[in-house]
């Protein structure tokens, strides 16, 4: 669709920390070129000017955690051509999905003196649990290069080529020693998708999976390897239930460990 009219981009914020949206503004080298090829029609954090919809591309950061947000995401879906779920909050519910594994009522009284003011969902949902998502950009925060690749692919009307290998590939491309092999540390690398540049292993610590599950993650083979490297009871489940804790494959892996521990 590289037609004459510049495609319109709308950026929406749901329940999130704003770090992925900020990474749009962190495209310092490309921002001025970006606004040359696309029309930023709605981006509350960057501009007060709001053009009316519908928009060609809707970028949604954050997860769905309130009844109001369920309505809002459906409305957005009907108002945009391509819907991009930006960041692991949008693609898997984010760190706030940790509530999904606990009783949310307990949280509300704990933190707020007037809990009755609170109206929130039992769980933190990924955008794709409510509407069809055209492109998922995982990561907490997203990788700027993947965002550019996603937008460029929309401009060129092609499937974006995002890294699909396990994080271990990125570790090896950088010549890094595997932290599991060299330091005996637990690392989610083998079941996590590449994309961050293996910055945790590069800093001598295990990956905690913020780019979400590797498409060919072999859980039966991986769980014993992870448990073998565990440094305190429950570390493996903690690592799995972290940023991408609500992603189905990570939920399943954590379940496998808990069931093993029960019997």
């Amino acid at each position: 669709m590289p037609g004459v009219k510049k495609p319109t981009i709308a950026v929406y914020k749901f329940s999130s920390c704003d770090g992925c949206q900020l990474n749009i503004l962190n495209l310092e080298d490309e921002l001025l070129d970006l606004v040359g090829v696309v029309e930023i029609a709605y981006f509350l954090e960057a501009t007060r000017a709001m053009l009316p919809g519908p928009y060609d591309v809707g970028i949604v950061e954050g997860s769905v955690t309130t009844p109001e947000e369920i309505e809002r995401i459906k409305d957005i879906r009907s108002n945009v051509g391509t819907l991009i779920a930006l960041g692991t909050c949008a693609t898997a519910g984010g760190v706030q999905a940790l509530r999904n594994f606990a009783d949310v009522e307990k949280y509300t009284d704990l933190v707020y003196p007037h809990p009755e003011f609170i109206e929130t969902l039992e769980k933190s949902h990924a955008i794709s649990e409510h509407v069809h998502v055209d492109l998922e950009l995982w990561g907490c925060p997203i990788s700027k290069t993947q965002l550019l690749e996603g937008l460029t692919a929309v401009l060129q009307d092609r499937r974006p080529n995002l890294p699909q290998s396990s994080l271990c590939q990125e570790c090896k491309l950088k010549g890094l020693p595997c932290v599991m092999v060299a330091y005996g540390m637990p690392c989610l690398g083998p079941i996590t998708k590449a994309g961050c540049g293996a910055i945790c292993p590069d800093n001598g610590r295990g990956c905690y999976g913020c780019f979400g599950p590797f498409i060919n993650a072999e859980l039966e083979a991986f769980v014993p390897v992870l448990l073998d490297k565990q440094r305190y009871p429950g570390e493996a489940v903690h690592m799995l239930r972290m940023i991408s804790g609500n992603a189905p494959l990570f939920v399943e892996a954590a379940q496998m460990i808990l069931e093993q521990e029960d019997n």
Partner: protein, 345 residues
């Protein structure tokens, strides 16, 4: 020459630029087992006791990433500018016997009658190799059964054998000779030669792992491509690709097309790939190698089977990296052993 050699980085022996002998991992030894590598201080002050970690010399000949060419669009035509050719001349210090064999195998892959990779052949001809005979092979090494070590037989400019207080130097080429002539040296005494021989013998004896009847292995594997043993190892493998990415002889690569947001600038990049990656065999009709079992089978049957048909020798040099650096502790010699147990004995 840019001198590169072993140095301690991130608590393992990596290969990087070295200026003086002080950069070498002196007084270190390495302990390797399946899925485990540790660098330990030891009392000795040997320079080459510690064996390399996951890195290998391949990155100087066939780098993990390489820009191929750049394009910029003016009206309807693309102007192409090639990436600057690699001009660096590397002097590799501390090349192990198995690594020499690894380089020779890569030569057969990248320098061929029908086509030659220009960058590889340029970097290769710019190499000055100072190899070293291994004095303390680790548990995961099996170079002797692959006929590649622990003693360097040739293909080096200079070869070292490290004794307690001296290095025995074998000259492998005129270039090597020219270098040695600029250094004080003395002819090796009989005693020196004898202790060098003892070092090499000692290394040979200490090799634990190995593969018996190597010449029967290709047929053994290729005649049983549907055996349940493949499914069994497929259940233990993570499909993470670390084995292929640490292996000194793996050569598969993929291309990335980077496009600038204006869609008016693009460049092609070549990057290491692995037969364990999901997109490796993707096709319109579906993936031709969808399961981890099929991918592990491709890895093992290529290294220890089809490689011989394609390039005239097996694809493994017995360096043991894939055994050490496999997070799941899967060992190629044991997997082959399982087939031998099933069919040979």
């Amino acid at each position: 020459y840019q001198t590169v050699g072993p140095r301690v980085e991130h608590k393992v022996v990596a290969y990087g630029e070295i200026e003086t002998i002080k950069d070498l991992p002196q007084g270190f030894a390495s302990e390797q087992e399946k899925g485990r590598y540790r660098l330990v201080k030891n009392e000795g002050d040997q320079y080459f006791d510690a064996l390399p970690g996951s890195q290998n010399w391949k990155k100087y000949l066939y780098p993990p990433r390489k820009d191929l060419f750049f394009l910029e669009k003016t009206n309807r035509h693309w102007e192409k500018s090639s990436a600057p050719p690699t001009e660096e001349r590397h002097a590799l210090v501390g090349v192990r016997a198995c690594e020499l064999a690894g380089i020779e195998i890569l030569d057969k892959v990248f320098i061929r009658k029908d086509f030659t990779d220009p960058d590889y052949s340029r970097s290769r001809s710019n190499l000055f190799i100072v190899s070293v005979n291994c004095s303390h092979p680790d548990q995961t090494c099996f170079c002797s059964s692959m006929g590649t070590g622990p003693e360097c037989q040739g293909g080096y400019d200079l070869n070292l054998t490290e004794l307690d207080e001296a290095f025995i130097v074998n000259i492998g080429s005129d270039a090597g000779l020219a270098v040695i002539q600029q250094v004080e040296w003395e002819p090796a005494s009989a005693y020196h030669l004898q202790s060098a021989q003892k070092v090499v013998e000692g290394a040979k004896q200490s090799l634990k792992r190995g593969i018996k009847d190597l010449e029967d292995v290709p047929a053994l594997l290729l005649d049983h491509l549907e055996h349940p043993l493949w499914a069994e190892v497929g259940k233990r493998c993570l499909s993470c690709g670390s084995c292929t990415l640490v292996c000194p002889t793996c050569f598969c690569w993929d291309t990335n097309d980077h496009v600038y947001i204006t869609t008016k600038k693009t460049n092609r990049e070549r990057v290491w790939d692995s037969c364990f990656n999901p997109g490796y065999s993707a096709q319109a009709g579906g993936n031709t190698r969808p399961s981890t079992k099929s991918r592990y089978r491709q890895w093992l049957t290529h290294k220890f089977g089809n490689w011989k048909d394609q390039f005239g020798s097996l694809g493994c040099v017995g360096c043991g990296r894939c055994i050490t650096w496999c997070p799941a502790g899967i060992d190629v010699t044991e997997e082959i052993g399982a087939f031998q147990e099933e069919f040979v004995s």
